[in-house]
């Protein structure tokens, strides 16, 4: 379940602009957030976002024993309206399991303000970066896979934001 996409960004990554690319990739959701309600651009899937994805993770109150918070928002492209009741899947390499293992996966729904928040075990660095994975793939909107990176492995929360466009 890998998404090998050869786009301009990836080609650039081979050269010296690799650092800048990494920053850009992790900064995209933040850059898209500012309240430009009209013409809000949809979030693109991040490279590597779909890695170790498992289809159909169950909606849970908490993944494992918790202690770490994954949160974010889901909005509609264009007008930026919050999307309630959207299912977001979350997984990561944590203190309780590797990325591909079932116990590392869970899902939650957005509230009426389009916000979601799910407690999970502490994320730890895997493959050289402490990062999480999130997916929207319920079909109503176009599927998006995100892979936010923590500024430090010591952080105990991480955010990711979705702007979805109709499928």
């Amino acid at each position: 379940m890998t998404m090998v996409v050869l786009n301009r960004r990836n080609l650039l990554a081979v050269g010296g602009s690799v650092l800048a690319t990494g920053v850009l990739a992790s900064g995209v959701p933040g850059l898209l957030l500012p309240a430009r309600a009209d013409g809000l651009a949809p979030t693109e899937s991040m490279s590597g976002g779909a890695n170790n994805y498992r289809k159909g993770a169950a909606i849970v109150d908490r993944i494992g024993k918790g202690g770490f918070w994954m949160s974010g928002t889901v909005r509609r492209a264009g007008d930026g309206a919050p999307l309630a009741g959207q299912r977001i899947q979350i997984w990561a390499h944590t203190t309780e399991g590797q990325e591909h293992e079932p116990q590392s996966h869970g899902a939650t729904l957005t509230d009426k303000d389009g916000k979601f928040r799910l407690e999970m075990p502490q994320i730890i660095p895997i493959f050289g970066q402490p990062h999480g994975h999130l997916a929207y793939d319920s079909g109503e909107f176009k599927t998006v896979f995100l892979r936010p990176v923590m500024r430090s492995a010591k952080e105990t929360s991480l955010e990711a934001h979705f702007v979805l466009q109709p499928a």
């Binding site: 379940m1 890998t2 090998v4 996409v5 050869l6 990836n10 080609l11 990554a13 081979v14 690799v18 650092l19 690319t21 990494g22 990739a25 991040m46 490279s47 590597g48 976002g49 779909a50 890695n51 170790n52 390499h93 944590t94 203190t95 590797q98 990325e99 591909h100 730890i124 660095p125 895997i126 493959f127 050289g128 970066q129 402490p130 892979r147 990176v149 492995a153």
Partner: protein, 214 residues
């Protein structure tokens, strides 16, 4: 008297320094709390990478003749075999990471990984494989010493630069200071051997090597 004392202590001190330069980063990584959350294959893959970086330090030291007690001939032979060991360490590193998380390794190998350090590591890997392959086939291909150096020196620079950047950007089991020190030593040893052997000049012979193609 003092000078004589230094001379007799110099050889063992150099070897001790080398052992510490490689041993301390490995020991610090072995004490990393990250290991508790990793499987055995992932741990093996990580340490293969650290060992590989250590071998990258040994290579310029051997070819520059900086390690006491080794004749020029034996230094070159050791350089040859350690080059092979380096290729094997890289294979273990990549294979172990592949088993740990196939999609992440495929992303890295296809230069489509989100992690900024991956392309540096993969580039260094290919440079290591090319050098190892050509070194093994050098006689059969009839490569002259000058042609060989023309190929090997630029690839050696790619290997060193790629490995150091790859390693420094990774957040993993290695402790920051011992990692940075090992990387600095790798760079310093490489620059020194390039300067001492004046690799940019057309030279007929390497330290003690015969002119005729082997």
């Amino acid at each position: 008297m003092q000078k004589k004392g230094w001379r007799s202590a110099r050889a063992p001190l150099i070897w001790v320094a080398l052992a510490l330069a490689i041993g301390v980063p490995i020991a610090k990584a072995a004490g990393s709390e990250q290991l508790a959350w990793r499987g055995p294959v992932y741990i093996l893959a990580g340490f293969a990478g650290i060992v590989a970086l250590g071998l990258v330090l040994v290579q310029p030291l051997l070819i520059g003749g900086y390690l006491p007690g080794l004749s020029a001939y034996r230094g070159r032979r050791a350089h040859h075999w350690i080059g092979g060991a380096l290729a094997v360490a890289v294979v273990i590193h990549v294979a172990g990471l592949w088993i740990t998380s196939p999609p992440d390794m495929i992303d890295a190998l296809t230069f489509s990984s989100p992690t900024p350090f991956s392309p540096f590591g993969v580039t260094a890997m290919w440079a290591i494989f090319i050098v190892a392959l050509l070194a093994a086939l050098r006689r059969r291909l009839g490569l002259r010493l000058r042609t060989w150096r023309l190929i090997h020196v630029p690839l050696a620079i790619v290997i060193v630069a790629g490995s150091v950047v790859h390693c420094l950007l990774i957040e993993g089991t290695m402790e920051t200071i011992s990692k940075a020190a090992l990387c600095a030593l790798v760079l310093a040893a490489t620059v020194k051997v390039m300067v001492d052997l004046q690799v940019w000049r057309r030279r007929r012979t390497l330290r003690g090597e015969s002119i005729a193609p082997q």
